[in-house]
Symmetry: C2
Subunit: 427 residues, 2 copies
């Protein structure tokens, strides 16, 4: 009973600033935070502070900024079609250097610490080398040592495959390692230290009135990551959501509290709209005079799906004469040349007059879990854009997101107008 009471207390007090309550915390630092000996010492100072407050701490590190790129460059020089297993053996070494050095720096400060490579934990992955998925983390050994006061310093980005080879998780894999580890260790929180100090209502470089959010739901964060916000990668947010890992995004360069990514239940006052994002790198494709017959959508999108082209927004205009229509959709701008090729190859099967492509577009999204229970959110968006004379090329929605495709030149105007329209501007 005592134990239950204590657990409840921990849970309700959970969102206090770090350090006030003894907790188990995973701290993750990226490449710029560990770029040299001096910055590693600074990281050691931050870890020592949290550990010194009586918390159990596991640290996940990336390689020094630039190291992994150098290693990747060597593998490219050596062989254009290289063995992904050997690629992983080479590019996983950067993290092994930083974890050893940080363990030393912590010991220098009188903190008990040891480094852990992926295979030592072990962090078990599948054998899709270069972009492996974590299957299982055995945290028993680390938990025992954390309970004895030792800080675990763990290599991000890497694990061990079923065949005993080192496997890397792909870009931003260290965030994934941190979140998965937090789940395996039943950590109270996973703190992701970055070069920004949290998640904002909009990109502060565009909207000076943008505010840092104290809390955001997993679902919102996921939409934001998908819709252009670069703070966290979609994959690590998904993992956090699936395992209900409390994630905090905060700056490694200052001491201000960051943004907590949490379950919807933990946010009492849900904002209708939490943030405005924009994604450039989109392209609009229009097929003119597509024959309006059953199966034509499959004829267009089947070949694109086969070629792994992601199609996002789709608009089909009404067919005025009942025989042909115009079809508009968006793809990643990088895919545009392939899309043109594929459409040309399938021109006869699809039946259209002409392809028009426009790379000068941007997708602006408003995101918020509160819109589930509020009517008129979309209408306010369309009104705000219309008021500024911004034409909407396409619309797509999810339960907690409305996206519109507009001309790229309107990006800043649209984001600022929407930020004001939804009452997000700071006082």
């Amino acid at each position: 009973m005592c134990r239950l009471a204590r657990e409840k207390w921990t849970a309700t007090r959970y969102w206090e600033p770090p350090g006030e309550v003894m907790a188990r915390i995973v701290m993750k630092f990226g490449g710029t935070s560990v770029a040299d000996i001096e910055r590693l010492r600074h990281v050691a100072g931050r870890v020592a502070k949290i550990a010194g407050e009586g918390n159990q701490v596991a640290v996940v590190l990336s390689a020094m900024a630039g190291t992994t790129n150098q290693l990747i460059e060597w593998t490219r020089e050596m062989s254009s079609l290289h063995d992904a297993r050997e690629y992983d053996a080479v590019v996983s070494t950067g993290e092994q250097v930083t974890i050893g050095l940080l363990a030393m720096a912590l010991q220098e400060k009188g903190i008990s610490a040891r480094s852990w490579q992926g295979w030592q934990v072990p962090i078990r992955t599948d054998d899709v080398h270069g972009s492996a998925r974590i299957l299982e983390i055995d945290g028993a050994d680390i938990i025992q040592r954390m309970e004895a006061g030792e800080v675990a310093v763990i290599a991000g980005f890497q694990g061990i495959s079923p065949k005993n080879r080192i496997a890397t998780l792909g870009r931003s894999g260290s965030d994934t390692t941190a979140v998965a580890l937090a789940a395996a260790l039943s950590a109270d929180r996973c703190d992701i230290y970055t070069d920004v100090d949290g998640v904002y209502t909009a990109d502060p470089r565009i909207v000076t009135a943008a505010r840092k959010l104290d809390k955001i739901t997993y679902e919102e964060m996921l939409e934001m990551a998908s819709q252009g916000a670069k703070v966290l990668q979609t994959r690590s947010v998904e993992l956090a959501m699936n395992h209900r890992v409390r994630v905090q995004v905060l700056s490694s360069f200052n001491d201000t509290p960051g943004t907590l990514v949490v379950d919807e239940d933990e946010i009492v006052e849900k904002a209708v709209v939490s943030g405005i994002t924009y994604a450039s790198g989109e392209a609009k494709v229009t097929l003119l005079q597509v024959s309006d017959r059953p199966g034509v959508a499959a004829a267009v999108f089947g070949p694109l799906a086969e070629a792994n082209v992601n199609v996002d927004m789709i608009v089909q205009s009404a067919s005025p004469d009942g025989t042909s229509t115009d079809m508009t959709f968006t793809v990643s701008r990088a895919d545009l040349p392939r899309v043109r090729d594929i459409l040309a190859q399938h021109r006869d099967a699809i039946g259209f007059q002409e392809v028009i492509a426009d790379g000068d577009v941007v997708k602006v999204s408003v995101i918020g879990v509160g819109m589930r229970s509020h009517a008129g959110v979309a209408q306010r968006m369309f009104a705000a854009l219309s008021e500024k004379g911004i034409n909407i090329h396409a619309i797509s929605t999810s339960e907690i997101k409305i996206s519109v495709l507009i001309g790229a030149e309107y990006t800043e105007l649209a984001v600022r107008s929407l930020h004001s329209a939804y009452g997000l501007d700071s006082a």
Copy 2:
């Protein structure tokens, strides 16, 4: 019976140039041979040639020249008294990069290959981190793959401790890895590729008439390594001798055959003297007027031994009056300041008038297994030096070696004279 016959045949044909007989060969390349992508490609070419002739090949690599020093420098910057286990975790990464890249380069040439880190083999060591000893190598997996035609590319210098931590073998550890692996794999030969093309009768930079030896015995190589020849480290020669691993020293930059280090039985015509070496870095210490009483040698050398100072040659002059004598011995020049301190601390216990130290000396040695069965070898040395007016400060001998301590300014003269005196000059 067939099998025995074949084995005998392999044994007698053993010393043919590489490639003529199908064999199992360990090839080891040092840091300068793998210093960049281009040199790694060159190494891949050499490996591909040997493998392409039908031999089973395992390759042992060092890190790119300079890499390990950079890693060591970082550990020093981070902490002066660092945890040796973390030091090992950091400095072992250099080899992991080169093995991955070489495996890629071999695959690019159509050769089946994979990289092996120490823990993957596994190469089991003790837990003396930074200078661990290999306890056991499980070569079963590698042998199976070699028999199936796969080249094993193995990280030198590293293994795994009983506690599942990476342990490094210390400087020149990659040679040790190669020899130990050759023993574990029952390899026919261990080829050590270096920047010289073999073992010479004397340092060719001093003696232009020096000849490359085709063969040399383990015992001679061991004395040469101890007495200043830098081709192979003592430790790897000892290991080769203990496990009767046939070692070849050869150049990674040209195709000439190197020097074979073999059992004495395999050399039919044993030279009286195989080589002349010199070791600078020695220092002569003389204690004047040491009291001539029982136990005085223990009083001098006991404290030095406790402080891990290696004392080499010892000369005690006859005591003219029966009460005091002069005592001369040599130590490593790097130890000289410590030796002075220790002697000063124990001055009362020992009882001497003065310490005179001379760092301007060199030890010249003549080495050869043939001197066991030949008289007059030492006499010829003393005569040759005397003829050139070179004064001998101290003498020490082993069964196959005579060393003299002389003034450093006579080094070249002494080495050249002895090289001629023992008939070693090339025609």
